[in-house]
């Protein structure tokens, strides 16, 4: 080898050989920003240690057979690959059960292992495949131009609304109606565009301050739309499925368990959990379910009806079951004493698309979300399951909300295009339309669809005294397998620092995360 004026030490400024200097010490929490860009969080000060663990891992791997290595790939459960240190340690533990334990990494989350087997959802099994062939959409060049113009005018109209120029907005809406007539309103931008035009025109005609933007539906009508949305696309099923998995794991070894459902609706989530508990090794626990829902104004006691149905199912599989309905218009109307939580029971709080409704203007006692999170914490639940829309529809500026929701719902409608079953598809679209309307037309306390993305919920929940419980590779794999039931290939499950998201193609649309309450420090008068 000849001389190399190219000095390799220039490029390896932090290489770990004796001839180069170690990197300068960084502030303790400083992450290596290049690794962060690649999706890994490693503190700069920990780089050397993590490298050592990787070396150790390699040594151990070299000694293992390829079959053993591939077995730990198949069987073990992993959590949060972004935390590289923990990931390396979990591999070391798998390969070396008697050997060195973890020297670094938080290792938070469930105790790894196979966990209780998850029983497939009877509701989903019964569902026929509602998806037909994903037909080709032919968009002519002229249509493409009209579509682009449609979006352009939508944005201009939204800008006018934000500025308060309602007369211009009104004119633009006429323009939009015309454009809608010229695109294929059966799919794509034509479909979702029509909902946004509708929402804008409602806002222009009935300014939000004056109240009625959309006629309230009866509880029954709401349930119908919800049910068809549930059937037409996998978002709610994924939410229920992932939540049940996590709750099941949290209840492992517990004899008395209590699930508090923040929105019972038709209780579609619970048959699967009841079945899974029935099949639990060691037998089922005593299961209490408290379902929160709006008060019935039409004489039906729908909460009680659902409770009875679930009780019957539980009886048929020999699960001791008790149900309680709590009627409340808003979550912050619920008082903890209504839930009658006993200290002996393991509590799971289940919030599917509910917490965002608490982000509206606060009352005299403070922001509703803080109050509710506080009493949840007081219940000391073993798990708080949170599933939320993965988007920021709660920005203060109207235009930002409008734009973000246009992207979000376009993607959701795109995914819905794959559903051909009727009336599921049309009613699902109506369900989504009501959400769009709320985001676009309403303000103040009427605007309840205040979706915020996972990063914001993480901040909020951590600040409220909750620690993350990581959803692992097992839940991830099960969710992916669940999606293969849907022949529309395009849904994607992703792992995001211990949380799971479901999206269409590469755009996450809903995010599921699990949390554990950190017990409040007790007021101690003796001792320290």
């Amino acid at each position: 080898m000849g001389p190399t004026p190219y000095n390799s030490s220039n490029s390896s400024s932090s290489a770990c050989s004796s001839s180069t200097k170690p990197p300068p010490p960084q502030p303790p929490d400083q992450m290596d920003h290049l690794l962060a860009g690649a999706g890994y969080k490693v503190r700069s000060n920990d780089l050397t240690q993590v490298a050592e663990r990787l070396e150790h891992l390699e040594t151990v791997m070299v000694k293992s057979s390829p079959v053993d290595i591939s077995d730990i790939g198949n069987d073990a459960v992993y959590y949060n690959p972004t935390d590289l240190a923990s990931w390396v340690d979990s591999l070391l533990t798998e390969l070396n059960p008697n050997g060195s334990g973890s020297g670094s990494g938080s290792g938070s989350g469930f105790v790894s292992g196979s966990g209780p087997a998850y029983v497939s959802d009877p509701v989903m099994n019964d569902m026929n495949n509602v998806y037909g062939e994903f037909g080709q959409q032919v968009v002519t060049p002229i249509e493409e131009d009209v579509s682009i113009r449609l979006v352009h005018v939508l944005m201009t109209c939204a800008e006018a609304v934000q500025r308060g120029d309602l007369s211009l907005a009104g004119l633009l809406i006429d323009d939009l109606q015309g454009l809608l007539g010229r695109v294929n309103s059966g799919c794509g931008i034509g479909k979702v565009g029509s909902f946004f035009v509708d929402a804008l025109s409602r806002r222009v005609v009935n300014s939000p301050q004056n109240g009625v933007v959309q006629v309230d539906l009866s509880a029954y009508e709401n349930e119908i739309l919800y049910h068809h949305y549930y059937e037409a696309c996998p978002y709610l099923k994924f939410a229920h499925f992932t939540a049940n998995q996590a709750i099941l794991e949290a209840f492992d070894g517990q004899d008395c368990v209590h699930v508090i459902d923040f929105n019972l609706m038709q209780g579609l989530q619970w048959p699967a959990l009841i079945q899974a508990l029935a099949l639990r090794p060691g037998g089922p626990p005593l299961l209490r379910l408290t379902g929160i829902g709006p008060p019935s104004l039409d004489g039906r006691d729908s909460l009680r009806e659902i409770g009875l149905k679930l009780a019957e199912l539980a009886r048929s599989v020999n699960v001791r079951f008790a149900f309680r309905g709590v009627a409340a218009t808003r979550l912050d109307d619920v008082k903890p004493w209504m839930l009658q939580v006993s200290p002996k029971e393991a509590v799971a709080v289940n919030s599917i698309m509910q917490l965002h409704k608490l982000l509206g203007p606060g009352g005299p006692r403070g922001p509703p979300v803080d109050l509710v999170l506080d009493w949840i914490r007081d219940l000391n639940p073993r798990i708080l399951m949170v599933v939320e829309q993965e988007s920021n529809h709660n920005q203060p500026e109207f235009l930002d909300r409008f734009t973000e929701s246009l992207y979000y719902y376009s993607t959701m409608f795109d995914s819905l295009d794959a559903c051909t079953a009727q009336p599921e598809k049309t009613l699902a679209e109506l369900y989504i339309q009501r959400e769009i309307c709320n985001v676009v037309c309403c303000e103040g306390s009427a605007r309840v669809e205040r979706h915020e993305p996972l990063v914001r919920w993480r901040e909020r929940l951590t600040g409220a005294g909750f620690a993350p419980l990581h959803l692992g590779s097992n839940a991830f794999k099960q969710a992916r397998m669940l999606l293969t039931l849907f022949s529309a290939e395009g849904y994607s499950v992703e792992e995001n620092e211990g949380c799971l998201t479901l999206g269409w193609h590469s755009r996450p649309l809903i995010a599921a995360s699990a949390w554990q309450a950190i017990p409040k420090p007790s007021v101690v008068t003796t001792g320290r």
Partner: protein, 384 residues
Amino acid sequence: MAGSDQINVCESKKVVPLNTWILMSNFKLAYNLLRRPDGTFNRHLAEFLDRKVPANVNPVDGVFSFDIVIDRSTNLLSRIYRPAAPETEGGVPLSTSFNLLEKPVSKSDFVPVIIFFHGGSFAHSSANSAIYDILCRRLAGLCKAVVVSVNYRRAPEHPYPSAYDDGWTALEWVNSRPWLQSKDSKAHIFLAGDSSGGNIVHQVALRAVKSQICILGNILLNPMFGGQTRTESETRLDTKYFVTIQDRDWYWKAFLPEGEDRDHPACNPFGPRGISLEGVKFPKSLVVVAGLDLIQDWQLAYADGLKRAGQDVKLLFLEKATIGFYLLPNNDHFHIVMDEISNFLVRSRATTTITTATTNYCCFGSMCFWIARKCKKMKLVFCC
């Protein structure tokens, strides 16, 4: 063989920055879990482990991105990266950039469109993998180019020729988008890729030869090629720098048709079953080879094969580089290559006549390096 493993570990640690070493070692060890001895692939775990990032229509460091399904029949997705135009789009809120996503790139300027194929040995990674998203952003920003990163189908579930078919679909799609056209109302198309992506570049360019589609240049970063024989570099560098012959063999077996060996022309384009490119109107090529990549003999043979066929090829040999050097911008090789790519795009503007390839020089102003090894056939001399 604990002793030699320690040596291996120390060797690779000396030549890359610590964070790069961690990144590459992590991939190496994690990927060991995914390749099953029976030839199947643990796709669930692979997707769980892969760090992905969403597209972002808000410009970040002057580049914004969005995803498009370019073929609904196969759900072929591509992520498009565009530099945000400084005056008109920079600082403009999200609201108006939504409808500017598919605005024509430029009427007057030459805006290269780089169709990018990510690496991963045909089995790993996606267009939305964090490491590739960030690489494409850098490419788009540094070269002022539109980058179309293709989410091609991967082995072993979709072996040969799926990836090539998807590459071809992407090329046809790019070529037919009016909004990707710029100066002279043409799309100025380049193909680029690393590892398996580099291999795809060659195959797609080959297929394009018989078509009307004009590709201005090929950029191959550590392209994945191989052959049935074991070469000197394979033996010398096996296990030393994050890659083993064993894993290379596994990936080829997963990608190539059942029963085929590594002299299949997809793997070994200028091997015993290769086709000559003599007299063929093939795009000019930039081939980047890392001196610590164990398959470098095959990569050098590729560049040589192009040269012998009278094609325009520039070889950039980086003696001390390992695989993946371009994933983090913390080394000189990264910057050298980015500059070289940038210059390549500019130089390839005008259609060139085919000239016989001459000795290639690499000289970068104040920075230069000297290649001690000479490739017998190529007589490469790098000097300053």
